[in-house]
Symmetry: none
Subunit: 118 residues, 4 copies
DNA sequence: GTGGTCTAGACCACA
DNA sequence: GTGGTCTAGACCACA
């Protein structure tokens, strides 16, 4: 069971969506497996059903889940999801390298001080 | 001279701050050099003076500039700035590696498809 | 035998109705032939009897079948069915042409890129 | 000035979104032109700001507009929009032809009874 | 019960 | 003022 982090600057609906994106990408939730119902998840997270609904709608638009009226929300089959995520990460990586480059920091210098721990 | 990009999702004050961070880190603006006055920059960028003020305040908090009442804002001497920026970039890098790791993407796989160019 | 597609955005009762419309229009089911009982079909499709009932009611309203109390549902004789369906398709066609027209796409341009296959 | 049609089965937010999609595709609204503010449009249409917000969010996700915090929503530059819409219409066209085909109606028969008027 | 839409109203960040 | 998020609560279609 995961909890929301109210310190987190991301809006609640986004935290929920990100949580399920991770679960799906990790394979914890498999194709056609149901997500908790909107109302039930809202109760568990002590948040409003509309907020959960917003998260689920976002997940649907991004191709992670599909929704069946009167039945619930389910994990969508999409073998390309991992590749999409990888592409997104690589794009963010490129942005970092670009910023580093602009102030004269090479990739190797950046990667050397390896675990720029959070 | 750089212009604001309204299509950029970042708020305008952040774009302004980032612009000056870059100029300072690149050495284009040197220690004790003055930044444009709030009003003048607001005019040039066709934006609200409050917005420029917010950007300058942020820059001050992050140690990039110092402000002298009645005189203006100036680049702060800080030899550690480059290191700070490097640390920030490494932190973002670590976050990306962490996200990749969670879904089973290794660093080398991420770095291989090298130029996930933006 | 056709199966339901839960990823299909149409509600399930509509998928069922459409399935039988097609079978009737194609002549696979002939006049006075019985449809499966509500309960049996519900079992086969692993869905709710209410849902099948709703599909059958819709089919009856649209003139595809008739129902006999205590006996079941049967294909209705209706030589005009094909014409009705044709009219419906033409109406949808007209809607598409209208939408295209509004943004300056001619029929020929639309039909040229012929197989905008699904 | 356009009005909402409460007879229309589409939800209100979708009607609003479709209205603006059309205006943008027709070139009535040009790149970087502002849309009415959420609150103002809500007043004009006698609907709730949240509903307008939902429409604008949908438009943003679909690439029709971009939003700037504290400023408003603006038409996004996207020369590919017309092509996307064309592709969508062709896809719907293909679906109609497929349905027609399944019950033995040829394209020419469908197109002959030309203006299957609504 | 389950998702989806909508309203009324509050609060926050940003310009 | 302008967008964005969230809550509480209602109502509808569908299964």
């Amino acid at each position: 069971m995961n909890f929301l982090d109210f310190q987190d600057p991301r809006p609640i609906y986004e935290q929920i969506a990100d949580m399920y994106k991770k679960l799906i990408l990790q394979g914890v939730l498999k194709t056609d497996e149901p997500l908790p119902s909107v109302r039930k998840l809202a109760m568990e997270l002590s948040t409003n059903p509309n907020t959960v609904q917003k998260a689920y709608t976002a997940l649907e638009h991004e191709g992670f889940i599909y929704s069946v009226k009167g039945r619930g929300n389910f994990v969508k089959e999409d073998p390309a999801l991992r590749e999409k995520k990888k592409a997104e990460l690589q794009s963010r990586l490129a942005e970092i390298f670009k910023e580093a480059d602009e102030i004269g920091i090479s990739r190797s210098e950046l990667l050397d001080g390896k675990d720029g721990k959070k």
